[in-house]
């Protein structure tokens, strides 16, 4: 008991620090929720900016998520199974968009796909223009969100013991079947967590989209950009838009938290 009493001031301070941070993280969302009367909610949902922005957000994020999963899964598998230096270097390069501010990513994308960019003129020659189109929204989302998926997926694939794949092969499975029937199911919880994180990041993407795709209602104006525009006209409208986006985030978070149940069912750790 004396030992515990001796430690209690430290514990008390820890609790205080922790509670402060939790408050800082949760309070804004509580404020958002309580500051919105139902009538505002209805009015916001009926606003001409709302439906197109929400629809564009859902459409582009689902497209970018599909691209991320299709391109990122084989990449993650390679990163997890290769011991080469190229793989380690690639792994560091992939993390770049996580540490670089989105606005910088937006400028970099313009310098790549813009009219005077690195590959822009080439694409233009074959009739493809990327900046300030729906395609630019998707490209920006893929760039900022896919690192989250690839990282989580590579970690999940590292849990698959090479011996399991060897056994699967000796039991008659082709390399593809061994991957699909053994590696993929074992890594699935981790892949789902990665996909959820990537989707959440794409849904919230603002800076790179604004610079690279612009803020055109119905064309490139996703929900975060619509909040930005609404804020200039009517704060209440911005609050309603924010609330909807926050609700989507909460649903996602619950879904991610639900994955451990799946993980337990599968009897393995996801991350």
């Amino acid at each position: 008991m004396t030992h515990r009493a001796h430690r209690s001031p430290m514990v008390g301070m820890g609790v205080l620090f922790g509670a402060t941070l939790v408050g800082l993280l949760v309070l804004p969302f509580a404020a958002l929720a309580v500051s919105t009367p139902l009538t505002d909610l209805r009015a916001g949902a009926g606003h001409p900016l709302f439906a197109p922005a929400l629809w564009l957000s859902l459409r582009t994020t689902l497209t970018s998520l599909s691209i991320t999963v299709v391109l990122g899964t084989p990449l993650a598998w390679w990163l997890a199974s290769s011991r080469s230096r190229t793989a380690r270097v690639t792994e560091v390069l992939i993390d770049l968009p996580i540490v670089i501010p989105p606005a910088v990513v937006g400028v970099a994308l313009l310098e790549t796909f813009g009219r005077r960019g690195l590959v822009g003129p080439l694409l233009e020659a074959v009739g493809i223009t990327v900046p300030f189109t729906g395609g630019a929204v998707v490209v920006a989302q893929v760039v900022v969100s896919s690192p989250f998926f690839v990282q989580a997926a590579a970690n999940a694939f590292r849990k698959v013991e090479p011996d399991m794949l060897i056994v699967a092969r000796t039991l008659g499975a082709s390399p593809t079947a061994a991957f699909a029937r053994v590696a993929l199911p074992i890594a699935l919880p981790g892949l789902l967590v990665g996909a959820s994180l990537a989707w959440a990041r794409a849904l919230g993407e603002f800076g790179a989209t604004l610079l690279f795709a612009g803020n055109m209602p119905g064309r490139t104006q996703t929900m975060p950009l619509a909040i930005f525009s609404a804020l200039e006209a009517d704060v209440r409208l911005a609050i309603v838009f924010s609330l909807v986006l926050a609700a989507v985030g909460v649903v996602l978070l619950v879904a991610i938290r639900f994955v451990p149940v799946l993980r337990q069912f599968q009897g393995r750790d996801a991350l």
Binding site: I166, V167, R169, T170, L171, A173, P185, G267, R268
Partner: protein, 241 residues
Amino acid sequence: MTTWHVSVATRVGGFELDLAMDGDTTPVALIGPNGSGKTTALRAIAGAIDVENAHIHVGDRELEHTEAGIHVPMEHRRIGYVPQGYGLFPHLTVQENVEFGLAYGPYHHSSTDRRAHASKLLSELGCASLSARRIDRLSGGEKQRVALARALVLDPDLLLMDEPLAALDATRRRAVRRFLADRLEAFGRPSILVTHDVRDVIALEATVVALDSGRVIQRGSLDELRRSPANDFIAEFVGAA
């Protein structure tokens, strides 16, 4: 009686494996210090690593013959493999683990056949009550039996086992060793196992092949090795009896 021959030369990273061995249905115990190439040898026989030059045949089947341009892929080798730690599929039940080999490619069976065949084997190995169990709910000894059942389900021509008893505690090890010896005798086909325990060699009445730095440095019965051990490791190994 089935005879087999393995000669393999290959390089994995900085490690060089260059060995030749042969045998019949008498179990072969691969011994050697850590890093001597025991696991690499098993993987090369299974076809899991690229080899530079190899000749492997089991009975009258050529599995690998570099000079003749023969390379049978892993899924067609008819080799049972029980890796270290067993490598059981954690997302499948015991029954599904054993059925796995009957579901794919060359060994495809109907689902009714699969179930019947796997159930029969599981009850032969005393695991009938485990069939619906998840892998993480099995004891070490149970995992060993299930891994053996999974490897035997295809009726392989050759059985490879990497330290099959290492994951067990000392008291279980004795019972499982006895069980393994009985099963290998019933199996009646060639088998190669990696071991660090001379008691495994005694129980299985195995021929010993000793490796060091990727090469065979001595082979023979336990008595022969006792009479003139080729190095300190072998002297220590056989003396521990």
